[in-house]
Symmetry: D2
């Protein structure tokens, strides 16, 4: 009897293990995430850092995207993938395009569309994680032109996460702390970015580590 039961248990456990699908994570964002799937990119690094039988990592980044662009394309690019988790990382273009093209996003509409994105993802059964926009310039004395706005939009995201009880990956905070230690000359790029915005090797590594910590809860 005991042997029979044990065998049954083992069989059940094995079958569970065999059918257990890995958690499907979609990284949903802009050009930074678009580059994240390239060799050395943060998603590429994550794939090597996390057990592939437990996590399936999918990039869904498109250059120039703002929050409302995510909303427009989310059915096709994200929800159709039936993700378990969606990591939303957006905001740089919402701020940056104000001064470069006159086509940024107002703060109140940023929140409105972000809420709508979260609503739809949650309705599709996905767990949602939010990221703050990391940097437009790496100077540590808040003298990068867009620092005021980036701080504002980051806080909007933190408030949103708190209000909706979501996990936030505070990349802006992580980038600043890293730069305070590693950017003694107050350079505007070259520490974690190649061009003030897009990630160099150290930047991709830092983001991958932050993402891993959030995804695995460690």
């Amino acid at each position: 009897m005991r042997t029979g039961l044990s065998l049954l248990l083992i069989a059940l456990l094995l079958s569970t293990a065999f059918v257990a699908k890995p958690t499907r994570v979609v990284f949903f964002g802009d050009s930074i995430t678009q580059a994240g799937v390239n060799p050395g990119g943060y998603i590429d690094r994550l794939r090597k850092m996390m057990p592939t039988d437990q996590f399936e990592l999918i990039g869904a980044g498109i250059g120039g995207n703002k929050i409302y662009d995510l909303f427009l394309r989310m059915d096709n690019d994200v929800i159709a993938q039936k993700p378990d988790v969606v990591v939303v990382w957006v905001g740089v273009n919402d701020v940056w395009h104000k001064s470069s093209f006159g086509t940024g996003t107002d703060p109140d509409k940023f929140v409105k569309f972000y809420d709508a994105v979260i609503d739809k993802l949650q309705a599709a059964g996905a767990k949602v994680m939010l990221c703050t926009p990391a940097a437009i310039g790496e100077k540590t004395d808040f003298s990068n032109q867009q620092d005021g706005d980036l701080n504002q939009y980051s806080q909007l995201i933190r408030d949103l996460a708190k209000r909706r009880n979501l996990q936030v990956i505070d990349l802006r905070k992580a980038f600043l702390e890293y730069n305070l230690k590693n950017n003694p000359d107050n350079k505007e790029k070259g520490i974690l970015t190649t061009d003030r915005v897009h990630l160099n090797e150290a930047g991709n590594q830092l983001v991958a580590e932050q993402m891993q910590k959030a995804l695995t809860g460690k």
Copy 2:
């Protein structure tokens, strides 16, 4: 027998008349349309100009709206009303907010969201009519600051209407023609607008007439 048949016919005709629902038209737009339902506004005027048993006119304008704001709120504010016809009139803020807040809409994204709005309206069974943005300033020598962009976005809408075989109400053209006749001093406001953008009495009347012509095909 003949009397009986006649009575039946009359009864049938009456019943048809009684159940025939008027065409439900939703005007979908920004602050200009929001003010259109006020006494003297263009929707208010249309209600008096068109037979109420044939047309039910509903305003769905919200101040500051750009094309992507329409996309965000269209399920609740338009499709839920089960409209037969939707008249979309948007574009002024997509252009204007570039210089006043740095939050206008890029031309390629303007078309992308406009296509998505039309897709959804058509999927809901509504006939869609498009309007060009009338004016930001009434000077007739194309020296209003946003004239270049307004002409560009108007052409994008005309091209869109052509490509999708939709009717376009060319308010920009109508406003220019009216001003060429009635604005000899090349004033920037006061002919059809109170403030270069929002409609005065003559403006509301002109828009109502243009809308009536388009809706009734006369």
Copy 3:
């Protein structure tokens, strides 16, 4: 003999005292300085705080002015007054008008025109003192939209002062320190400003105190 000499000395000293003209200080700036001469304004307060026989205080502020506007009007408005000291306080509009009108000032040209203003003032024999732009918004976590730029332009002014060996009145630093103590709710206005930029009573008092300290060296 000694009595005669002493009397002579006293007479000389007295005559010197009598003919000694007060130091003429011109405050050269934008709308904040234009309002500074109003009752309760910072220049009005300074006039009560400093001995009138030693200091003659003149306001030369015009609303909307940027550094290049100061350069354009300095001959008539400042140099013609033969000032002993000129306190230059500018920068808010150079930053602010970027997003509100698209007509701010590039950082490199800000420095170029500032250098030209200083050159001309020094050539006219005036001692020049520089101020940093205090605030566009009083939130203390650097999340006011223009904080990045204001920090950048303030640093440009500090660097300029250092390079040219000039005294700098660091109002931006003073405002931040005051707000860190007195703005626990992280409000954007109402602590030192009425509207995020222009001074309320406390703001005028703080500026007056900072100016007094700089002008009297105490």
Copy 4:
């Protein structure tokens, strides 16, 4: 006696003719004028089109210059050259930099600085000729983004020329007329410009011809 006197007169006249200096013309402007001295540039072409004993042509263009940059550097770069004629050609950056950097020039200040530039040039004894900004985009239906502003600033220059009784070289008008004939496909560049703003061969030739006509009065 009379023969001797006549000969003397002739000798004097001849000597005067021999020492007669050519008219010194300075072209004062932005990157378009900076490139104008290059081989094939409009100033280079003018040098071949006009008699060198009668006209000395000097380029004084610097990339990115707006009207206030001209004012800042005019003593060194123009007045020091003791020009007989100064052709001022500016305005593209005053308009363009609004949307690309947020650092354009307000229309009222454009006129203010232009007046100041003219005042100084006239005080230095130079004849001043004004040009309208030719183009930011060559589409002929006024649908280039900055057409509204360019038309506005061109009119400001025409009004300024009229008010001060100065000659205006209306390059904007000349460019539009040329494009109406030679740009049937409504292209945004490639007819007179390489990139919507800077001159190609045809553009340099057209400008040279317009300048020649204005300078020689033919």
